[in-house]
């Protein structure tokens, strides 16, 4: 084996190491560049939408016993695929952990991240993402045992509280306790399931996570009425799908798929009647939304029958919610239509 003379080799090695040392941070700080070609074209060419989802969260994204992905976020992937490709099954699901999810989107490993991600300013700007819409209004709350006799969060002074580490949940809890001058002992447990078990076993007085998670846990207990979800919601967690910055057409499409789902619920369009309404409903807004009149689909860069495909595959917002979240005990609450008191889901006009 012939080696280059030693000094040359070592100098070369040193130069290479130096170059790597300089290149690494530069590459790490590099903002994701705007995609050269449009995401919509890339998805069309590929024939499938690649969707980043949670690795397993009840009601939102979870493989069932047969390994088929189901859930609220999964239905949004299916809806976008139905609008863009005409077939809700043309989706590849990439399970992404909380730590890896943003890189997966930045690096183009996924087209869209529908992974119960909270919309925050920094994620919208410095991470280089566009949040398309708020599909689910969540917030952090507390659950206690009814036998404790606690009716509101202010009574939790001195309590032990089970919480997951490293999430905004833990920060919110600390912020809230400081703001309200409440002393508490945190019981920090990494896994969600262990947290729940610790709470059930009485290791802590209260258990805190997003209200949707609390409701899901409460609903499956042998006697759900033994547990109370306190009325206080201590944080805002607007969840929604996000896409890369710089491709407004795709962001628009995802946004309007959500508005279409909400609008369809408002107009009473369901999986069962969508074909019939597309053919015969006389209301102008229905005609525009379902593509019988006007050119709304083409303006978004998809087929004019896009909403028919979406509703046919996943149903309207209410149906998506009822299929995935109602069974695990989550109420509509703020996610009701704006026409209901307290409801926040609102769709701009389809015109």
């Amino acid at each position: 084996m012939k080696m280059p003379s030693r000094p040359t080799f070592l100098r070369g090695l040193g130069a290479a190491l130096l170059a790597t040392a300089i290149a690494l941070p530069a590459a790490a700080q590099q903002q994701p560049a705007a995609p050269a070609s449009s995401t919509i074209d890339a998805i069309r060419a590929r024939g499938t939408l690649v969707c980043g989802v949670n690795t397993g969260l009840a009601g939102f994204a979870q493989p069932d016993s047969q390994g088929v992905w189901r859930g609220f976020d999964v239905d949004y992937c299916r809806a976008v695929a139905a609008a863009l490709l005409g077939d809700a099954n043309k989706v590849r699901y990439v399970p992404a952990t909380a730590q890896a999810r943003f890189t997966a989107l930045q690096s183009g490993e996924v087209d869209i991240l529908a992974r119960n991600t909270t919309w925050t300013l920094s994620r919208d700007t410095s991470l280089g993402f566009d949040f398309a819409a708020i599909t689910f209004f969540d917030g952090q709350g507390f659950m206690v045992k009814r036998s404790l006799g606690v009716n509101n969060a202010a009574q939790l002074d001195g309590a032990t509280i089970c919480v997951q580490p490293g999430t905004t949940t833990e920060q919110n809890l600390t912020d809230w306790a400081r703001a309200n001058r409440i002393r508490f002992t945190p019981v920090v447990i990494e896994r969600l399931e262990d947290n729940i078990n610790a709470y059930l076993a009485g290791r802590c007085d209260a258990y805190t996570t997003d209200v949707s998670g609390l409701a899901a846990t409460r609903a499956v207990q042998a006697n759900p009425n033994d547990h109370v979800i306190l009325p206080e919601v201590i944080s805002k967690e607007p969840l929604g799908p996000l896409v890369r910055h710089g491709d407004q057409r795709f962001a628009d499409l995802v946004r309007w798929v959500h508005f279409g789902l909400v609008g369809a619920e408002e107009l009473g369009i369901t999986t069962a009647n969508v074909q019939e309404m597309a053919a015969s409903d006389a209301r102008p807004e229905v005609q525009r939304m379902l593509g019988r009149n006007g050119d709304l689909g083409r303006m978004l860069g998809v087929d004019n029958a896009w909403m028919v495909n979406v509703i046919r595959s996943v149903g309207n917002y209410g149906e998506v919610f009822a299929r995935n979240l109602t069974p695990i005990g989550i109420q509509r609450g703020p996610n009701a239509l704006w026409t209901t008191p307290g409801g926040l889901q609102y769709a701009p006009p389809f015109r």
Partner: protein, 377 residues
């Protein structure tokens, strides 16, 4: 002589020792009930053991529920919850075993990953038989691994294509462990030899590699592979997530195994090296015929120890969203109706790990005994 045998009837069988001096009773007496303290300790431990075993049998078999009705795709687990932990709810395994074993692989195609697991086990068995320890192993491995790839991906021979992110469960664990160790082991031998090389550049490179990789936890390497590495690649270029994790595991296992192999190299008496040199063997002849066979034989126990460790370490890929056996098990109990039945799932998954690790351990013991036979003359 005659006075000793005077009372012994001629031709009678020799009497066996009294039953209180040999046999199980004597053993019990000598070891468990030799004094009041020993007797007390024996009784207490015996009581605890019997209680524990009876409790386990009650939990795992007597009070256990093996299946629950499923209506509209939602399992009715009230019966299990009413046990309040007094019995196992094996229904979760009955309902979810295919998901745990094969992850999100298309349900109707599950025979393919099942066949892959069988192929892997067959490959292990064939490779462990000394009869096959020759050139024939290379085609056997090539053919089997190709078959495994074809079965998992499909896309030819009328098998529908299954993208990698739908793979999961036991095949993922076996793929990561098998490829990881199969590539890491040769790498580790080269690195171990390199660390003892007299060429400074090679030596420095090998030392750097080993110390760098050993200096960071596997989990951070996996993070590097899954989170940072894609950012360095040009836009639109993506290396498969599983492949990235696989390379991280190979590099990590390589560094650890290299140190094990180096220990074997150092344990060899210097005379072996000198004798080989005196024979006029080249470096590779010396290494291949004299040094490595002896050195590797010395380090079988730590090698297998590392193998077993890595087989289990593959479960760390859960942090980058790959559904290996353990992650699939954990995901199975995310569904609200199955929440709280983690113990049953962990027992099931643990048993599978135990089977593989115990087989490795037993095999290595046999191998060690066989290869070290010359020492016990």
């Amino acid at each position: 002589m005659s006075d000793i045998t005077v009372n012994t009837p001629i031709g009678s069988e020799p009497r066996s020792a009294p039953i209180t001096a040999v046999g199980p009773i004597a053993w019990l007496r000598a070891n468990l009930f030799s004094g009041w303290l020993s007797t007390a300790v024996t009784l207490v431990i015996g009581y605890v053991l019997v209680r524990a075993v009876m409790g386990f049998v009650d939990w795992a078999f007597v009070n256990a529920i093996w299946s629950v009705p499923v209506t509209n795709g939602v399992a009715q687990t009230q019966a299990c919850r009413e046990l309040h932990g007094s019995g196992a709810c094996w229904a979760v395994v009955t309902e979810k075993h295919r998901f745990m074993l094969f992850g999100t692989y298309p349900y109707e195609q599950h025979w393919r990953p099942a066949l892959v697991c069988i192929l892997f086990v067959a490959l292990y068995i064939v490779s462990s038989l000394r009869r096959f320890w020759n050139w024939r192993l290379i085609p056997i491995w090539t053919v089997t691994l190709t078959a495994i790839g074809v079965l998992m991906w499909g896309g030819i021979f009328g098998l529908p294509y299954v993208p990698q992110e739908r793979w999961g469960g036991l095949p993922i664990t076996l793929i990561l462990a098998t490829f990881g160790l199969a590539f890491a082991f040769p790498l580790s031998v080269l690195v171990a030899l390199g660390r003892r090389s007299s060429l400074p550049a090679i030596k420095v490179l090998c030392v750097l590699y080993v110390e760098l990789i050993r200096g960071v936890p596997l989990i951070s390497l996996l993070f590097m592979a899954s989170v940072m590495f894609p950012l360095f690649l040009p836009e639109g270029m993506n290396i498969d997530k599983l492949l990235r994790a696989q390379i991280a595991i190979i590099l990590f296992a390589g560094a650890y195994l290299a140190e094990v192999v180096r220990a074997g190299l150092q344990a060899l008496p210097k005379g072996q090296y000198e004798a080989a040199d005196a024979m006029g063997l080249s470096y590779w002849q010396k290494t291949g015929f004299i040094i490595l066979p002896q050195a590797l034989r010395l380090v079988i126990p730590p090698l297998v120890n590392t193998f077993i460790g890595f087989f289990k370490d593959t479960s760390l890929v859960l942090i980058i969203g790959i559904f290996d056996l353990l992650t699939a098990g954990k995901t199975a109990i995310v569904e609200p109706s199955w929440q709280g039945f983690g113990v049953e799932v962990y027992v099931f998954v643990g048993l599978i790990y135990l089977v593989f690790c115990f087989a490795m351990s037993k095999y290595s013991q046999g191998l060690e005994a066989e290869l070290n036979r010359h020492r016990r003359r």
